[in-house]
């Protein structure tokens, strides 16, 4: 064996420029999401030029999609463990309603509403996790049930009526709480004004954009840098091997569903503020957009494969696509058709082996 196995050095150490380029090639291949992103941008620029590129438009586009993008991060986490979370849309709806009711009925300040909503989402996510791991219900079934349960609670809580968040005080102007709540996402309201931030300077930043970016960065670091992230990939890639490697598979499973629920708790108030109201049907079918974003970003429903960077790009593609199609006055119906086709295309492009013959040695 000495003769034949010696060429096993770690070629990582070969840090010549050429070797670096060579190492990047497969990465580029797997991230053709970038190409999609550039294409959508190009279409937007060519067809709508200035309108598309204007700050207002882009801010609105991202703001409209932000809540779904945040959900997509949680869904990615679950998908990485080879599960699926269909309940995120309902959980978000539940949390947006909870946020609106807390604001309207309790006059609670934003800084209390947000953690409470996250807690509520996490609690429902925890139920998903326990059902999946301890009761061993397939995650599809468990979260499908939760989709229904959370939606039911949401509608019961609101008596099936939309709850506006622009609460007026006795003097006819917005109460201070409602004023503050608008910061969460009502278009035209920025947070952190006066604080210098990269890219935007001191003008402040639109909170949904900020929240989406922060969530993405945080979860990207969680997945790529921490032991927990490794465990998530291991559980999705091979649960038996993960268990025999000393990983608590039950804990990891419960944790990803709980985190997904918690992210729905962040998305809820944002959505309520963006729409200026919590609709009992808010978030319906958002889970599909979230899953689509993850899948376009390269996540495999078989688990163990996918990144937050990919999901971020996937979410951006869907965002800008929505926007570009809207600007070009493509009807909603055709938008759905195009979105669906793009999901198929993205998945096919990620599987170059489809075009070759099966290469299983």
């Amino acid at each position: 064996m000495t003769g034949t196995l010696t060429d096993a050095p770690d070629k990582e150490q070969a840090r010549t420029p050429l070797a670096r380029v060579a190492r990047l090639l497969p990465v580029l291949g797997s991230l053709q999401g970038y190409i999609g992103l550039v294409l959508v941008l190009l279409i937007g620029i060519v067809t709508q030029g200035d309108v598309f590129l204007s700050e207002t438009n882009l801010t609105n586009a991202v703001g409209a999609f932000s809540s779904r993008g945040i959900l997509a991060v949680g869904v990615t986490l679950v998908i990485l463990t080879a599960g699926i979370d269909l309940s995120v849309g309902s959980l978000m709806g539940f949390c947006s309603m909870a946020a609106a009711l807390l604001l309207v009925n309790e006059q609670m300040p934003v800084w209390q509403i947000m953690p409470l909503c996250m807690l509520a989402g996490a609690a429902l996510g925890l139920v998903n996790g326990i059902g999946t791991s301890v009761l061993r219900i397939q995650s599809f079934v468990m979260t499908l049930a939760m989709l229904s349960i959370a939606r039911g609670l949401d509608r019961e809580m609101s008596d099936n009526v939309s709850v506006g968040t622009q609460v007026a005080g006795p003097d006819g102007t917005l109460t201070p709480e409602a004023e503050a709540f608008q910061q969460l996402g009502t278009p035209g309201h920025n947070v952190l004004e006066g604080v210098w931030l990269p890219f935007v300077g001191k003008e402040g930043v639109y909170f949904p954009v900020l929240a989406f970016v922060v969530v993405c960065v945080a979860f990207h670091l969680l997945l790529s840098r921490t032991t927990f992230g490794r465990h998530v990939y291991a559980v999705g890639g091979n649960p038996t091997a993960a268990r025999l490697s000393g990983i608590n598979v039950t804990f990891v499973t419960i944790a990803v569903f709980t985190l997904s629920g918690m992210l729905a708790g962040i998305a809820g108030p944002i959505d309520a503020a963006y729409s200026a109201a919590a609709d009992p049907l808010a978030g319906t079918s958002y889970e599909l957009d979230a899953i689509a974003a993850a899948v376009i970003g390269g996540a495999s429903l078989r688990g163990g494969k996918g990144t937050i960077v990919g999901t971020f790009i996937g979410a951006l593609i869907l965002t800008l696509l929505d926007n570009v199609l809207g600007l070009n006055a493509v009807s909603d119906n055709w938008q759905l058709v195009i979105k669906g086709s793009i999901v198929v295309l993205a998945v096919v492009l990620q599987r170059p082996d489809l075009f070759r013959r099966k290469e299983k040695a």
């Binding site: 990582e12 291991a234 091997a241 490697s245």
Partner: protein
């Protein structure tokens, strides 16, 4: 015997038909000739100038280390890879095999190394998958299907009911079901890729009978195996590949193991088992188990097992398939959780209660699981990810982040130390060959720095070179004070590597053998087998020697001594088909060893029973 013959006769219908087809007119050349085959994968030249010739009625062994290109060559033949260079001729007619279907039309059947069965379907449904017999009404004729499936299974010595779902069959049974599936086809050329990797000796013997039946009918067989002793028995000629190139072809009768090994690895291999040097010194007791019992889900029960492993000692666990060997390791490692395991265990002098693999790892245990793909590796991830997976906590910084630099250094050290052949640490493990994958599993276990290493079939399905390296590693670890408890289905390996071998039968300890070179290898071999099959007088405790008295005339399994590959004239080969006395014995033995099948392998290097 008669009944089986009859069943065989019927089941061979396909084979008989092909027998007629194998002589299409005047052509007298080879059944199959592959010439100058070349095939590249991105970044790797898998094959160049490979060739293979098979005549009707011939068993050609295809030999080479893992990664030598055997599987690639066979995939080309099966129509899996279509973009190859070179020519393939069937009966002297050039053919292009552009799909698996085309290969089937040419009468080429494949038994893949990886099992291709549908777990949820029954044995019979798997055997007839895609060609189910129909009733006149057009529904599946389950009765005919089950009957024919039962015939095929009986022919292979399996007593699996045709209606048993494959997922409830043991690996050995699944492997034979795979063989039955191929037999059910109308094949002229049958490729068997490691068909015996999970089979016990008696099952191997039955399979060989079937192969001989097939060749008598004019079917050509390409047989891939790492077990040289099997090739000596079944193959007519042998073709050797090395690094994707054709190295040579020999008639089996004109060659010997040392030559084959030399052809394969490019050097002579003096010793298969590194027992040279002085005796390993044994330290304090690492593991003391008494009355271990366990009721695992879907495994064999254990009934009160006592054993101990000292530091610096390699203890082997032998037994037939289903004897509960893997279950002992899994139970000790905590894989069944706390509730299902009874008995008392002491680890390094401390009471130890198996709780979870996590707990076991923390206590200094590591497990090399039986099935590396299903149980040990995250295939879609990198060498680095897999190697460090069980010991990530050691590279933990605040906030539970991983210190990736230290992690990479540690992984690189292990990977280099084990000479894992991988393009980089960031290569996915599913791109590595079996031997290298196994080395990654070992690297993972070693990185956890175990003081007690549990190894379940540590060398299954890997090539001779990697195997020798793993044996060396086991010896080195033991010398450094690690206690090793190893399960293997290959008796020569156990006897060659272990200081003591414990024999399990139906979840009970039935024998214990110490290494002691006083008696001949054959005696130990026989004694081990007897203990492994001792259904009645189950002996617990340490005095297993009594139950293991060698039984006269039961030397059914004893292919040549693998510690000495240079000796081609090994006299101890009672499986020789020319020996009329042994054959009926073999089959009788099988019949009494129940459906679970046997799980021991042949061969006996020095050492003996007590």
């Amino acid at each position: 015997m008669t009944a089986r013959r009859a069943a065989t006769g019927r089941a061979v219908e396909g084979g008989a038909a092909t027998g007629r087809r194998t002589r299409p007119g005047p052509h007298a050349g080879p059944l199959l000739a592959m010439r100058a085959i070349a095939k590249s994968f991105p970044g790797v030249r898998a094959l160049r100038g490979a060739r293979l010739t098979v005549h009707a009625g011939e068993v050609v062994a295809l030999l080479g280390e893992n990664g030598a290109g055997k599987s690639t060559l066979m995939s080309i033949l099966a129509g899996v890879h279509t973009d190859y260079e070179g020519t393939i001729e069937c009966d002297g007619v050039p053919v292009t095999i552009h799909s698996p279907k085309a290969a089937q039309a040419l009468g080429i059947g494949m038994i893949h190394q990886e099992l291709n069965l549908v777990p949820e379907l029954t044995a019979a449904e798997n055997i007839f998958l895609g060609r189910e017999p129909r009733t006149p009404r057009g529904t599946v004729d389950y009765r005919a299907m089950d009957r024919r499936a039962a015939e095929l299974l009986t022919r292979l010595g399996l007593e699996v009911p045709p209606r048993r779902p494959v997922k409830h069959c043991r690996i050995a049974e699944q492997q034979l079901i795979e063989v039955a599936k191929a037999l059910n086809l109308d094949v002229r050329l049958l490729v068997m890729d490691e068909p015996t990797s999970a089979l016990a000796d008696a099952e191997v013997r039955r399979l060989f009978e079937v192969i001989r039946d097939l060749t008598a009918d004019g079917v050509g067989v390409v047989y891939i195996s790492h077990r040289l002793e099997e090739l000596e028995e079944i193959a007519d000629s042998v073709t050797v590949l090395r690094d994707g190139e054709y190295v040579g072809e020999r008639a089996m009768a004109d060659t010997d193991r040392s030559e084959l090994v030399r052809l394969m690895v490019g050097r002579t291999m003096d010793e298969l088992y590194p027992r040279g040097g002085e005796q390993r010194s044994e330290g304090p007791v690492r593991l003391e188990v008494s009355g271990l019992s366990c009721v695992p889900e879907g495994g064999s029960r254990l009934h009160g097992i006592d054993l101990s492993v000292r530091a610096g000692e390699i203890v082997g666990l032998a037994g037939l398939m289903g004897a509960g060997r893997s279950e002992v390791l899994q139970a000790l490692f905590g894989a069944y959780g706390a509730g299902r395991v009874g008995g008392s265990v002491t680890l390094d002098g401390q009471p130890y209660r198996p709780r979870s693999p996590k707990h076991a790892l923390r206590k200094g245990m590591a497990l090399v699981a039986e099935d590396r793909k299903a149980q040990s590796l995250v295939l879609a991830n990198t060498v680095r990810f897999n190697t460090s997976l069980a010991s990530l906590d050691r590279y933990r910084r605040p906030w539970h982040t991983v210190d990736r630099r230290r992690e990479r250094e540690a992984v690189a050290e292990q990977v280099d130390g084990l000479r894992v052949k991988a393009p980089s640490l960031n290569a996915n493990v599913d791109t590595l060959s079996g031997g290298n994958q196994q080395k990654v599993v070992l690297a993972k276990c070693l990185l956890a720095r175990p003081s007690l290493l549990l190894m379940d079939e540590p060398t299954r399905g890997i090539d001779v070179g990697a195997k020798a390296e793993i044996h060396e590693l086991m010896d080195r670890l033991a010398r450094q004070g690690t206690g090793i408890l190893a399960v293997s289905s290959e008796l020569p390996e156990l006897i060659g590597m272990c200081d003591r071998v414990l024999v399990l039968c139906e979840g009970r300890l039935t024998g214990e053998f110490h290494r002691d070179a006083a008696n001949g290898p054959r005696a130990e071999q026989e004694a081990l087998l007897t203990a492994a099959m001792a259904r009645e007088d189950v002996v617990t405790g340490t005095g297993g020697g009594d139950a293991a008295e060698p039984t006269a005339g039961d030397g059914t399994t004893d292919p040549a001594d693998p510690t000495d590959p240079a000796d081609p004239t090994d006299p101890a080969d009672p499986t020789d088909p020319t020996d009329p006395d042994d054959r009926p014995d073999t089959t009788d033995t099988t019949d009494t060893t129940d459906t679970a099948g046997t799980d021991d392998d042949a061969g006996t290097p020095g050492g003996d029973h007590r």
